[in-house]
Amino acid sequence: MSSHRKLKSWMFKLPTMLNCAEAEELMHDHHEGDLPANRRWRLNLHLKLCRECTSYLAAYENSIALGQSAHSDVEPADDLPDDLVAKITAAREQK
């Protein structure tokens, strides 16, 4: 373990501090805006001190936004088969 991580590991054992694994568990609710004030405060404190979690959270949130952008519009399929249209309309008539 690097000395940087050793120091962090020690620091995150202090009262009210979260370690990275505990911070990870709060990230979903943090993104959804569902974290109660006390937990939000503890996560924000962790993020102020942890470059790795800050970097991770930024990449996590960018990934969500990229996923949403990539699927923001539904491009209609341009290969709707005529026989499928015929099959659907025929099935309706048989009802």
């Binding site: 505990e22 979903h28 970097s55 699927h71 249209v85």
Partner: protein, 200 residues
């Protein structure tokens, strides 16, 4: 076939509610391409996607009487297609749990995160505007294990609420949250080639 293109949507809805055959054919031809694209998001097999939209259109026709036009016809049909696709998926497999442990965050023995430092020189909007990056993102989502992919699509793309997703997936809301978080984490891992490491 009467052309409904320039008429208000309520004209088409009224014709569908009167069981007008020509209106139904127009409905299928006009909305079918979009419906097929949505079905293909969920069902990787082309025949399954076609079966799915056939079921969806017939279901739409059966329920058109109850359509109150609180949303557009496209939005209403979209939800029917998604439901139909999920039913098809459920009938095929039980969406068996697949492991994505390799794609989840890593911690050392002191519970410290092992993570590179990322730099985002390009905004999400700039990245997403690039065709190649969009394809990469879509492929990354498509490559997620089935249950993670579907939960991510429902929550982040279709914007269903957690409780709605839970009902559609026959899961508990807590389980939806955990699956979604893992799916997002795995997606982030798969998208790392799009990000730049700080200091490089």
């Amino acid at each position: 076939m009467e052309d409904y293109q320039d008429a208000p949507e309520s004209t088409l809805v009224a014709a569908l509610q009167q069981e007008d055959a020509a209106a139904f054919e127009y409905f299928v031809r006009t909305f079918g391409g979009r419906a097929l694209a949505v079905a293909r998001r969920y069902l990787r097999n082309s025949d399954d996607a076609e079966d799915c939209i056939q079921d969806a259109f017939l279901q739409a026709f059966r329920n058109i009487e109850k359509f109150e036009q609180r949303s557009s016809l496209a939005t209403w049909l979209h939800r029917i297609v998604v439901n139909s696709a999920l039913m098809k998926l459920r009938s095929q497999t039980r969406l068996a749990e697949q492991s994505i442990d390799d794609l989840l965050p890593q911690f050392d023995t002191g519970e410290c995160r092992v993570e590179p430092s990322w730099r985002f020189d390009e905004s999400v909007e700039t990245l997403a505007a690039k065709g190649e990056a969009r394809r990469h993102v879509r492929d990354a989502i498509d490559s997620l294990p089935e249950n993670y992919r579907i939960v991510l699509l429902l929550r982040d793309i279709e914007e269903y609420r957690t409780d709605e997703t839970a009902e559609l997936m026959d899961m508990t809301p807590g389980s939806v949250k955990i699956t979604l978080h893992r799916a997002r984490s795995a997606l982030k891992k798969k998208l790392e080639p799009l990000f730049e490491r700080d200091g490089e």
